[in-house]
């Protein structure tokens, strides 16, 4: 133990004889180690963000949506999910705990002279919970509203601001499709949910108005007519989307298959889609692992480069100190002593690089924020065009990356130090003494 301490002490002393050279070698390892931690942290940050987005859909949920088929396929009878589908699924699939159907359509909302175009969402009381909407004022739709098919509505925060800039929306009557609805609540503003691949569109909740789905069915009906210049389009659809909650996470995948089969029997058109967040989470996991592996390989390359730096410097040192090696051998140093001394020096270099690299790695959050703000100031246009995920990603230092990076740095020091050290030890003492 003390032998090692002395060896390390001696190594540090020898390395300090050439401070710049040692510092540059340490820098090589530092960059390698820091990049391992950084790249893993960035990978993890992106992964976690994707995971969060998917998890916000609920791992225990299955989402069934109406998809509009190409227009020539649509018969007069409409398309998409029907009230029958809903009843059928809830009645026949035992693993479904709850189901939350919604019907979404574009509408104009009015209050006195103010008006705006937004999303009318017919929903059930569970909708707020499923989409993680929070109540700000008043209340959300209740079962009583649903059963009574009442003309009650709840406004999204932004919708409330549009119609009631002075606030105090609750209790007022707004007009939707020629009928009055009493505002019973206002929700807290919610960030739009991102779309996930091609399987789920992004959803913007800011222009929403929520009404009981039964009221929507009764008052507005299934048919909407879209008129554009030179075009008149009829659209019949009963349910836009059903969010189904499965009783156990382990049943999700099976249930999804059952739902696909059940719906396929009653639908001749390809007018529905089934999204399973759990599948997406697993996909995202695989993607993330591949991403981390890829970044890890890049980082490994920089570590190898750092290691080659160590080897280079150690080989130069051995040549430079051949005479010293001869003296030490004459004074009784065994080959092992010489090997140990040079190995200790390369290891000290790499450990120093490793520790400083870890410090830099841990600073990656504030540093990346700094870099991002600098980039935003200097290249605002380029930054704007980057995808959201990249622009807002927060690196998350992966716990295991620190011991990993440190271990790798020690191994790099040993691996790239072994050859120079063995070369030093294999020098003939007499030859080495004569050197210089």
């Amino acid at each position: 133990m003390t032998t090692w301490l002395r060896t390390i002490q001696l190594s540090v002393k020898n390395l300090l004889l050439h401070p710049l050279r040692s510092a540059l070698t340490v820098l090589g390892i530092l960059i390698g180690v820091a990049s391992v931690i950084w790249l893993l942290a960035i990978g993890e940050g992106i992964g976690q963000k994707a995971q969060e987005q998917i998890a916000s859909l609920g791992a225990q949920n299955i989402i069934v949506r109406t998809i509009k088929p190409s227009s020539d396929e649509v018969a007069d009878g409409g398309y998409g999910l029907t009230r029958n589908d809903y009843v059928c699924l809830v009645a026949t699939v035992p693993t479904i705990d709850e189901a939350f159907p919604i019907r979404v359509l574009s509408q104009e909302f009015r209050f006195k002279t103010r008006h705006f175009e937004g999303r009318l969402v017919g929903c059930t009381p569970g909708y707020a919970e499923v989409t993680a909407l929070k109540q700000d004022q008043g209340r959300f739709i209740t079962d009583a509203d649903l059963d009574g098919e009442r003309n009650y509505c709840v406004l999204a925060a932004e919708s409330a601001v549009k119609l009631f800039p002075g606030g105090d929306a609750v209790g007022k009557k707004i007009m939707i499709d020629k009928e009055f609805y009493v505002v019973v609540g206002v929700m807290v503003s919610r960030a739009p949910s991102a779309g996930i691949g091609g399987s789920l569109a992004a959803e913007d909740y800011s222009r929403d108005v929520y009404v009981p789905i039964t009221t929507l069915w009764r008052r507005i009906g299934d048919m909407t007519i879209v008129t554009k210049p030179g075009q008149f389009q009829r659209d019949i659809q009963e349910i836009s989307q059903i969010t189904l909650r499965v009783d156990q996470p382990s049943h999700v995948l099976q249930t999804a298959d059952i739902i696909r089969n059940t719906l396929a029997q009653s639908h001749t058109l390809a007018d529905f889609g089934v999204t399973v967040p759990l599948e997406l989470i697993e996909q995202a996991n695989t993607t993330r692992l591949m991403f981390i592996l890829f970044l890890g390989m890049i980082a490994a390359v920089s570590l190898v480069v750092g290691g080659i730096g160590i080897m280079n410097i150690m080989l130069a040192t051995v040549t430079e100190r051949t005479h010293e090696i001869g003296i030490r051998r004459a004074l009784g140093a065994k080959r092992g002593d010489i090997t140990r001394q040079f190995l200790a020096e390369s290891t000290v270099l790499s450990v120093a690089g490793g520790m400083l690299g870890i410090l830099c790695g841990l600073a990656c959050r504030p540093l990346s924020a700094l870099i991002r703000s600098a980039l935003e100031r200097w290249f605002p246009v380029h930054m704007e065009s980057l995808p959201d995920l990249i622009r807002t990603v927060q690196p998350v230092v992966v716990n295991w990356s620190i011991p990993l990076a440190f271990t790798i740095s020690i191994l790099v020091g040993i691996f790239f130090g072994v050859y120079p050290a063995l070369r030093a030890a294999s020098l003939d003492p007499i030859e080495a003494l004569r050197h210089e």
């Binding site: 020898n14 003296i327 004074l331 140093a333 007499i430």
Partner: protein
């Protein structure tokens, strides 16, 4: 163990060289540096080895110093046949039983006087507080007690050689080998160094010293002259 010579060696001789040969291969040609050298070194002897360059004296000193193994023949040191020892075993002999003094001092430039004296302790495994106190005493003994923190470059040649002598004594070896220890020194300093070596001899240490100078050789008890890898003469002075 059964070898009677070995038993005898332990009893009577500090070292014994028996028909030692050493060949080198240099550029495809074999150079016969030593061609059968035999002599005994009784404990406490003070020997100078002389000879023109190429006579084999450096080769002999390397073999006596256990830096190399003879091609044939035997070298018995305190009863051990060192010529059969492995590399590590030789290193251990060098660390524990032999002290080296070189012509060019061979101090480590990055270390202070005291640290230079301490170097052999690393390899003999005796780096105890007591051994380190002895290093201080040795520095005093060679007259450098007030320069412990100096680097070799800050010292004169004579001072450097005194550091080297102190270093050679650290592990208290019975056997001291000096390769032209005064070769780089002026006459006054040469006298000082020879005095120091003479003192070590009178302490009962065996000293073998290679030199070119007759003045230096005259300070020793016995002179062996080599020529062409063989002993030309072996004379005892007093």
């Amino acid at each position: 163990m059964a070898d009677p010579l070995t038993m005898l060696g332990q009893a009577d001789f500090s070292a014994r060289v028996q028909d030692m040969h050493k060949d080198y291969v240099l550029g495809g040609e074999t150079v016969r540096a030593l061609r059968g050298v035999t002599f005994d070194v009784p404990t406490g002897d003070y020997i100078s080895i002389m000879g023109s360059s190429g006579s084999g004296k450096s080769t002999l000193l390397n073999l006596l110093g256990c830096l190399d193994r003879p091609t044939s023949g035997r070298f018995l040191l305190g009863g051990d046949d060192v010529s059969r020892f492995s590399d590590d075993e030789l290193a251990e002999i060098r660390a524990k039983r032999i002290g080296f003094v070189f012509q060019s001092y061979n101090l480590l430039p990055a270390l202070s006087v005291l640290e230079n004296i301490e170097v052999p302790l690393y390899y003999s495994g005796r780096r105890t507080p007591r051994a380190r106190r002895q290093c201080l005493e040795l520095a005093e003994k060679v007259g450098l007690g007030d320069r412990l923190d100096h680097r070799p470059a800050q010292l004169s040649g004579g001072q450097q050689q005194r550091v080297a002598i102190a270093r050679s004594l650290v592990n208290d070896p019975r056997f001291i080998l000096a390769d032209e220890p005064t070769g780089n020194l002026d006459s006054t300093t040469t006298c000082e160094i020879l005095e120091l070596l003479g003192g070590l001899s009178s302490e009962g240490r065996t000293i073998i010293l290679v030199t070119h100078e007759h003045d230096v050789a005259e300070q020793t008890q016995r002179t062996i002259v080599l020529r062409d890898g063989k002993i030309l003469s072996d004379e005892r002075r007093r």
